[in-house]
Symmetry: C2
Subunit: 195 residues, 2 copies
C-alpha cells in the first residue's frame, strides 16, 4: 500500500511537471510550483529524483515522449490508410491546440529547444523521444509501400511540418498553420505512395 502511494506521488510529480514544462518551459518552472501542482511533500522530489530538477526534466521528457508516441501510434495504426491517418493527425492537432487555448501542442518541444545546448541528459531524452515518433511514421509509410529512403525523409518532413506549425500556431494564436501544413503533408504522403 505504501508502495502504491509512492508510485502515485512519483507519477503525479511527473504529470504536473510535464504539463508545466510544456506550457511555460523548464527554466521558468520552479520546483515549488511543481510540488504544489502535484500536491507532493518537499522531500519527495529528491526521493524519486535524486539528481534533482535535471533528472526530473529528463524523466518528464521521456514520459511526454512516450505519451505522444502512443498518440502517434493511435493514428498510425498497423495497416492504416496513411493518407487518412496524416489528415486525421493534423486535424486532431488543430483541435487540441485550439481547445487548450494554444497552450498544449508538442509536449516536449519547448524544453527541447531550451536545453539543447545546456543539458546533455535532457537533450538526449528529447532526441530519443523524437526518434521514437519518427520510427513509427517510418514503419507505417514503409508498410504502405513507400521505399525506405523516401519513408525516412517523409517522416522527417511530417515531423518538421507539425512542429513548425505548432510554433507558429501558438505564437500567432491561429490554427491556420496546422491546416496549411496538414494539407501539404497529405499531398506529400499521397504522392509518395506507389501506383
Amino acid at each position: 500500500m505504501s508502495e502504491n502511494k509512492s508510485a502515485g506521488t512519483r507519477e503525479r510529480i511527473l504529470d504536473s511537471s510535464g504539463e508545466l514544462f510544456r506550457r511555460q518551459g523548464y527554466a521558468g518552472t520552479g520546483i515549488k510550483a511543481i510540488l504544489t501542482a502535484s500536491d507532493a511533500p518537499y522531500g519527495s522530489l529528491y526521493h524519486f529524483f535524486p539528481g534533482g530538477k535535471e533528472e526530473l526534466g529528463a524523466a518528464a521528457l521521456r514520459e511526454g515522449g512516450l505519451t505522444y508516441l502512443r498518440l502517434v501510434e493511435a493514428f498510425f495504426t498497423e495497416g492504416a490508410d496513411v493518407v487518412a491517418a496524416t489528415a486525421a493527425f493534423f486535424d486532431g492537432a488543430a483541435v487540441v491546440v485550439e481547445m487548450t487555448d494554444y497552450a498544449d501542442a508538442c509536449p516536449i518541444a519547448t524544453v527541447a529547444l531550451e536545453v539543447a545546448s545546456t543539458s546533455e541528459p535532457m537533450r538526449e531524452a528529447a532526441a530519443d523521444a523524437f526518434e521514437s515518433w519518427l520510427r513509427v511514421l517510418d514503419q507505417r509509410l514503409t508498410e504502405a509501400g513507400i521505399d525506405p529512403v523516401r519513408s525516412r525523409e517523409l517522416s522527417v518532413e511530417l515531423f518538421c511540418a507539425i512542429e513548425g506549425a505548432f510554433l507558429l500556431a501558438r505564437t500567432t494564436r491561429s490554427t491556420e498553420p496546422i491546416h496549411i501544413t496538414g494539407r501539404a503533408a497529405v499531398a506529400a504522403v499521397r504522392s509518395a505512395l506507389p501506383g
Copy 2:
C-alpha cells in the same frame, strides 16, 4: 558623446540578451548573466527597459526578428530565382547550425515557445517577427508568378519546415533534417511556379 555611449549600452544589452535567450531560453537567463555578458552596470537595464526583464525580452524578440528579416531578405532579394534562393537558404542554415555547434538556429523560437502562454507582450513581439518573415517570402513567391493564395500557403510551409528542422537538428545534433526539408522545400517551390 554620452548619448553615443548610452546607445552603445542599450545595444550591448540587447545583443547579449538575444544571444543568451536563443541559446538557453528566456527564463533560464538571469539578469545578472545579461549584465555580465554585455558589460553593463546594474542600473542600466532598468534605465533602458523600465518594464524590466519582460520589456527587454520583447525588445530582444523584435531585434532578433529584424536581424533574421534582413537575412531572409538577403536570400530572397527582389527578382531572385526563388528556387535557388530556397536551396541557398536551407543550405546556409545547415552551415550556421553546424558551425555554432548546434546552438544558433532560429533567433527567437525558443523564447516564442516559452512565453506563448505566459506573456502577451512577448508573444505579440514574436508573432510580429514571424509574420514579417512570412510577408517577404510571400511577396517574392507572388512576384515569381505564384498565385497569392498559394504563395501564402507555401510561405507558411517553408517557415514551418525550417523551424521544425531547427528543432530536430539542435536536439539530435544533426543537419540531416535541414537537408531533407530543404530538398522538399525546393521541390514545393519549383512545382508551384507557373509553366
